[in-house]
Structure formats: structure tokens, C-alpha cells
Symmetry: C2
Subunit: 333 residues, 2 copies
Amino acid sequence: MKKHNTVQLSHGGGGVEMNHLIRHLFWERFGNDILNQAEDAATLTLPSPLAMTTDSFTVSPHFFAGGNIGTLAIAGTCNDLAMVAAKPSYLSCSFIIEEGTPVQELEIIVDAMAAELSVCGTQIVCGDTKVVPRGAADKVFINTTGIGQILKTGVSAHRIQAGDVILVSRDIGCHGACILAARESLRLAHPITSDCAVLWPVVESLLEQSIDVHAMRDATRGGLSAVLNEWCQSSGLQLAIQEAQIPVDDAVRGLCELCGFEPYDLANEGTFVIAVPPTQVQHTLDVLHQFNARAAVIGEAVSLSPAKPILHTAWGSRRYLDFPAGELLPRIC
Amino acid sequence: MKKHNTVQLSHGGGGVEMNHLIRHLFWERFGNDILNQAEDAATLTLPSPLAMTTDSFTVSPHFFAGGNIGTLAIAGTCNDLAMVAAKPSYLSCSFIIEEGTPVQELEIIVDAMAAELSVCGTQIVCGDTKVVPRGAADKVFINTTGIGQILKTGVSAHRIQAGDVILVSRDIGCHGACILAARESLRLAHPITSDCAVLWPVVESLLEQSIDVHAMRDATRGGLSAVLNEWCQSSGLQLAIQEAQIPVDDAVRGLCELCGFEPYDLANEGTFVIAVPPTQVQHTLDVLHQFNARAAVIGEAVSLSPAKPILHTAWGSRRYLDFPAGELLPRIC
């Protein structure tokens, strides 16, 4: 069969060409016993309770410092499972590809996905490939949907109690700032790298250490602000946050000042917020620090009204940290 | 909050506007106890063995006789589960929406999804919404990924044996022909309606009747030709097909002659091929006929070389039914 350098409409037609693309692009990199059965659906064995989550990825540009849309497609979905204490076991993977997309770009993306999968031992067990005519999509969109066994039940924003301490797993805002810099073609003195990464290894360590995690959430679209606001809504508690303790890299802070963003609103793709009882704080920090030195306590849950996150500055002033609104950064993930 | 008639970029930002869209567009129609938990991942209980399958839908036009992209998004994924004898229990649902898409069109699509879900008692348990700028997608793409318990194990193309009888559940090619007619703006004397429908009710009946189904596959992209070729590859058997017995509607046949297509290559979205042992043929036909009068035996598996589907005509001539190749119909599903 003729080898194509770019994706053709026939690659999505369900015939010979699609079969060829799937075998050489996807199976060679994702191949495993379950995927290779090639039935309409994969057959799996997985004990309940299960977690299930889905995400479509449309990030622009497709390649950025620290990863590409493929890295993101694996990390994003695996992380949503990890946040409910579920081991990311099985993923589906669906590509919408624009006619004319270079096959070589797809290979780089799929290679990045395979590398990221190996970090947490996750398998892609089923997939789908659609090709749309030029102009009907922007190069490539990827959906991943994941399932996994929940190893500790009840990890939920509803479980946050007054007195719980709030931590972040590293400095915030890197993914958003990295994409922003790439779009504006800024040449920064200190380049910003996306935090994009699978979080299962650190979550697994927390669970192995029997830390009584009350809630976890990765601070993706909407950033730290969205997570803290959602937690206030779910728990009915106020979150008192010490602004000076929120770790933000100088380069990220500088870019935010330049572009008029709050670092708290910027997306992250490998950074999570965690609520634990006060007795577990040091132990939690110890584990988090094994993975990133900038993990930090940022505040606590208190029985006060209103049930909103409040930023306390180093000078004693206070302000609401609002839910982000407006366009923020389109196509951040 | 200001009510928008079209989708804005801010609806995908992860902030206030997205929250509003998700609640009013999706939750009002899909709402159930699991979805309403609103964690990063849904919590489920489901006995193994499980089936998992994924599909992204990019059909153009988005609305057609017999359904729309929403109907297809539910039927397509539920049917892939049904084909391995799995009850479609839980679906994820992910939307990529082009900025400027009328909210009213989305409402019609989501209404159609809710109606189709109710046919097989399937729940949407998690979702995702992305908005991309004008020109970066064509209105709306939907991914659904489904899981369900396999009620009869081992239904697989690998199980087809010599002597097995091959049936189709109704007349073929309607979805492909319907989309073709819509694109060419043809005014047909007898309008063609897509066969798009969930197949779980008929599969459930076959299982309840303890019919020893060897293999099932819905004839989507690539049509009947693709299914029969895949079955020959998997089973190593020849499939002897009696062309005169393949049910094709006159309007579909006419359109195929007009446009130079084979009805066997046209996509279906609610039509499946089934292989059963000869002793079970009448029982199978009886069940299939309860759902569609045009279900028919079309051939049998034989121990001959080559392992390809062969069409036997009413006049005694024979020809290979090849795997479809070329562009076929882009964006058929």
C-alpha cells in the first residue's frame, strides 16, 4: 500500500487505509493483549467500586514546553481518576484528525502518550479514529476516557471538615503560563515549562502511607481558584488561604503581571490541591516533598460565612478569591 | 447571568459560564444520582467481565432523516457494547463545540440523546465540555465511551465455525444512503431514513431466549463488506453469501446505482450481522423478526480457501466481496 506522509480522508473511511493507519500508528505503540483482540469492545476484569472519567483535548498549540496534546490526553484523564483515589487501569482513546495532518506529528503525539502511560502502568484498551476534511477541525483532537478501581472510598469535597488543612502539591500556574507564552511567542529569560504529568505515583504513595485524605482535586481549567470555590460550595465551609504561602514561580508571576492574569486562575495539568485533617499535615507534606520540593500548606477550612475562599495577605488585608469568569485562555487543554 | 443564544468561548473556560452551561444544557437532560455527584470522576459498581468501547461522532450534516449526531452518539456506543453481549450501563459524554454554535441546536441534540438513552436504560455518568474558536471545529463533535457487564462471554468473530449461518437484522445501507442524499440535497420520491437506533433491546431478547450467538457485529463504517471481511480474517473461514438474500431497500439500491456505490459498503447505525449454529437459525430469525420484518439469512461459513466473503448471484456467478477502500463517505458517523 502507498505510504502517505499526511492523513487522507480515506484513513477514516472504515476500509483498508484506516485498518493500515490503526495498525501502524496506534497498535505498534499502544499494543497489549486486550487492545489486540480487536472486537467492537474490549473485555476487562476490574473490581468495583470503579471510577470513570472523560476528557477531550483541544490544546493549542499542540506542542509546548514540557509536553504535547498526547502527554496531556493521558495525564488529564489519569489524574481525574487519581483524584478519587482510583488507580488508572484502562483508557479508551479516540482521535479526530484533520485531513492533511502530517503523520510524523501524529507519531510524536502517540509516542508521548505511550511514554506517559508507562509511568502509571495504564493500558489503552479500545480506540476510534475519525478523519474530517480540511478546515473542519484544527489538526487533531483527542478524547480519552478512563476507568479504574477506587482504592480508598469517600475521597470527596463533601468530606472536607472545619479544621482540615489545605495543601498544594507544587507551584501553580505553569501549564497556563507556558501555553500563554507559546501563543504570544514570548522569549522569556526563564522559559516556563508545563507541569503536565501523571499524578498517580504521588497519590499511590499517599494511599500506601495510609494518609486519611479527605479530598483531592487537580487544578486544571479555572486553576486553583476554581477548585477552592467548588470545595466551598460542596463543603459549605470557608477556606482561609494565606496568599504568601501559595507557591508561584517568579517567571509565572512575571508573565501574569505582564498579561493581566491571576496565577490562581491559570490551568495546571500536574498539580493538585489536597485536604487532610490537621494531624496528618506533616506526614502529607513529607510524601508530597518526595515528589516536589515546592509542595506547601496554603490554608485551612473554617466554620465561617460566607462559604467562599478568602485570601489573607501578608499585610493583614483580605479579599475573596472569586470563581474565574470570562474567556480566560481558550484551548488550554 | 446573561443568557446567550450561541455558545461563547467563555462557556469552555472552566469558570462561571461553563458551570452554567453544563447545569442547564446537560444536567437538566442527563441528570441522575451518579452524574450529580460532580466529582472529577464518577463512582460506579459493575460486575466483571466488563466491556468498554469508545466512539467520536463527527457526522455531517448534524441533522438527518431519522436522527441527529446525538442519536448517533448514543446508538453507536451502546451498539458496540451490545455486540459483545454487554448491557450498555454507563456512558461518558464529551462535547467539542465551535464558538457560535446555536444553543438551541445543542438542546435538540441533547434531547435526542436523552430519548435514546431511555430506550436501553443507560446513564451518562461523566462528561466534558470544550469550546474551540470559530473555524477550529465544525459546530459540534461528540465522544461517548461506554462500559457494561458482559452477560454472555465469548461472543466473538474468533468463535465462528464452518456451518454457522450468517444473518442480518434488517435491510442494509440506510444510514449511508440517507447521509448521501442529505449532502447531495436530493429530493427522492421515497425518502430514505437512517436506521440509527440502539440494538440492545433485540440483543437482550436473543440472550433471554438463550440463543447460542457465536458472533455479532454492527455494520457501521465500511458496511456489510467490512464486517464480512473482518470475520473471514478472524475465523480463517470463507463466507458464502447469497446476494439475492441480502435485504436492500429499493430507494437505497436506486441511490447506489445513481452515485456509483455498492449498498454493501454503505454504513449502517442500527443494523447488525450475526453468526449462529445451523440448529439455532429459525429461533434467531423469529426473535429478529419481532423487531424488523426484513431480518434475513444471507449465507454461511464454509471451510474453503481463500478466507474471503464470496457473493453468489442468483444466476450462479460468483465474485469476491472486497474490503471497502478509498474515501467512501467521509463524516458518515
